[in-house]
Amino acid sequence: MDFDLTAEQQLLGDTVQRFLAKEYAFEARRRILRSPEGWSRAVWGRLAELGLLGLQVPEAHGGMAPAPVETLLTMTALGRALCLEPYLSSAVLGTALLAAQASPAQQAALLPAMAAGERLAVPAHGEPGARYDLSRVSTRAAREGGGWRLRGKKAVVLHAPAADHLLVSARTSGGEADEAGLSLFLVPREAGGVKLLSYRTIDGQVAADVELDAALPGDALLGGEGTAFAAISSAWDRGLAALCAEAVGVLQATLDATIEYTKTRRQFGVPIAKFQALQHRMADMLIHVEQARSMGYLAALRAGEPDARERRRALSAAKVVVGQACRFVGQQAVQLHGGMGVTDELAVSHCFKRLLAIELSLGDTDHHVERFIAASVGGA
């Protein structure tokens, strides 16, 4: 039982926080948000230099995996700064999927380049109507000549417009919701028959719906045919841990902004922070933030747990606490900012939107309550 960081971890956390505080302040972020690309390759390059894009890359390929605490610290710092870069999609989910499912040769070709920030690969897994159900995949892959043909539609693929590769899940056998029969394919974003409907999400990240009718070479298949579910499920759990850690950063930033605002905003001749109705609301916000922080730790340290049921139980519990914190803290922060809270001008509305997006990403609160119950049956 120990909540301390090693000296190296402390240094890494401080470094990334300092870098983002300097380079990713509110106005700098606003410029990136309004740029056509919607994220910054320069920042991405700096994250690579700091070694942060290699946290899910195995040591054999020049990375640091497993690095749960380093990932936690990085994600919390990224959350605090409301970073728009494809860290979760490419550096966590995409990288973890490749590390789990790609052959050694494919890993050697891709992972060092991803750690260096030269390549981006994001998962294209969710589908219209599948909601958060990880095994519900209708996209089909069939052998065609010496290769594959993929047909289907992927929903809300985060950072697809930014990616070089999409990691597309497709069914090579089995029924619509079977875990068996799922395969994973490496699909160049620019390949023929890959059509993106690109857009921004409510919190300003780039994303796309992807329509596939693509012919792919035989080596586009990553790992064994029909075996991708376990890799997807474990990558998602790592993603959940990272997302919870990011949430803690956003939550803390949101609470800090609210405390600061209520100390400066004066009404009835006093700072509104003097009013007990508001003070108690902020105390409740703090409790949510601290409970979320605790579950962020749990998620980080259980994300690599080999027992899938134990792992799912812990991660779903974490996402429930975090999701509810996102909802409460976000809404109350806007409320306590009054009219200013519903403008685009202050950080709080941007925090609010990111908190909403986090709550709805990788499974919402109801989904994870359900998953927690399923994982608890017969258990503790």
Partner: protein, 398 residues
């Protein structure tokens, strides 16, 4: 960073578990696990058993006869005791007046008062609240006037938990009526058997007699029973509150209640199926279980900060608020789980040895009374609203 217990902590847990298996009397265990009334003899008896083992002061330093355990070991000990169904140790001596006497009392007071707390020979109660002084404790009016070698105490204390069994009471009394609020308060130890002390029961909403009024009429208290300096009592009281709140999250007891609730909901039926499988009930139960998981980690975070000699701070307020919310939510779900059989209320069915017949399932008998009883938790020990004031001032800096 590591959330698992170390091998030493795990071995310690095994040692505690083995001791409980061997030494916790079955009848005590059954009462606690069944939600039945625990007698004062059980409470004292368990303290004596622990004392014989050398574990009478789980939170005390070895210099005063305690175990010298660090906060994480104390947590493990409390968790295992709760899980096994051990009676709750009385906090008034062990966690309240004991630490104050160790820190601020003189050597004679330490020699006189600390050993009988460990042995169970003295039963302490806490004389803080007054009819007009609840959350605004510093407005208290009970006065102690110095008359030679004595203080003459007059006034009324209220909400005194288990005063009917107590042999001693520690009181906050006003020794300087001219001074403002906190400044004129002293910390005084009073023998409950002194002439002029009267205890009157207050019957609570569950029909139980847990708390009392204590009246002082010209009670002569030897001046040597003043702890520390006159008019400095408020400082000592604040020190005490920090200690009282450290374990108020009640993680171990809530885990035990959660396990009981799951058993109850597994036996109860809805639409012919176990209630535990009902999606509405299961979701409510999962919500509480998940919050308890989070609070356990928050609690351990606070404890490990404390182990590094950072004093229990305002984070303890967070533990108190969330811990009591969870304790209360568990009793609400218990009531909900037993449905209409939450309504029959027969106090005799809550006494150990009740031979029946029960109205409805046996597990339903204590549900509503426990629910009613546990409403106190968000009120005592500094109401949850006062805790939010503390968070506001000390953590948020507002």
């Amino acid at each position: 960073m590591d959330l698992s217990f170390t091998p030493e902590q795990q071995r310690f847990r095994d040692e505690v578990r083995a001791f409980l298996d061997a030494s916790l009397p079955a009848e005590m265990r059954e009462k606690v696990l069944g939600g039945l009334h625990v007698s004062p003899e059980d409470t004292v008896g368990w303290q004596r058993i622990l004392h014989r083992k050398g574990w009478g002061g789980p939170g005390w330093p070895q210099a005063f006869g305690g175990t010298g355990w660090d906060p994480v070991r104390q947590f493990i000990f409390e968790e295992e005791c709760a899980a096994a169904g051990a009676p709750r140790l009385l906090p008034f001596g062990l966690k309240m007046v004991g630490p104050v006497i160790m820190r601020f009392g003189n050597e004679a007071q330490q020699r006189r008062h600390l050993p009988p707390i460990l042995s169970g020979d003295e039963w302490w109660c806490q004389g803080y609240s007054e009819p007009g002084s609840g959350s605004d404790l510093a407005s208290l009016q009970t006065r102690a006037e110095r008359q030679g070698e004595h203080y003459l105490v007059n006034g009324q204390k209220t909400w005194i938990t288990l005063a009917q069994h107590a042999t001693w009471i520690f009181c906050l009394v006003r020794t300087d009526r001219a001074a403002k609020a906190q400044a004129g308060i002293s910390f005084l130890l009073v023998d409950m058997r002194s002439p002029g002390v009267t205890v009157r029961p207050i019957v609570m909403l569950d029909g139980g007699h847990e708390v009392n009024e204590v009246w002082f009429e010209d009670v002569k208290v030897p001046a040597e029973n003043l702890v520390g300096e006159e008019n400095k009592g408020w400082t000592y009281a604040k020190f005490l509150l920090g200690h009282e709140r450290t374990n108020i999250a009640g993680i171990g007891a809530s885990k035990r209640e959660l396990a009981r609730l799951k058993r109850v909901a597994g036996d109860e039926r809805k639409h012919g199926r176990p209630l535990l499988e009902d999606p509405f009930f299961a979701a409510r139960l999962a919500q509480v279980e998940i919050e308890l998981m989070a609070l356990e980690i928050t609690n351990l975070r606070v404890l490990s900060a404390e182990a590094q000699r950072r004093a229990p701070g305002p984070e303890a307020s967070l533990l108190k608020i969330k811990g009591t919310e969870i304790q209360q939510a568990l009793t609400e779900l218990w009531v909900q789980a037993v449905g209409p059989y939450a309504l029959p209320f027969r106090r005799e069915a809550l006494e150990p040895g009740f031979a029946g017949p029960h109205a409805g399932p046996e597990h339903a008998a204590p549900a509503a009374a426990t629910y009613c009883n546990m409403r106190k938790t968000s009120i005592y020990g500094g109401s949850n609203e006062i805790q939010k004031n503390i968070i506001t001032q000390l953590i948020l800096g507002l």
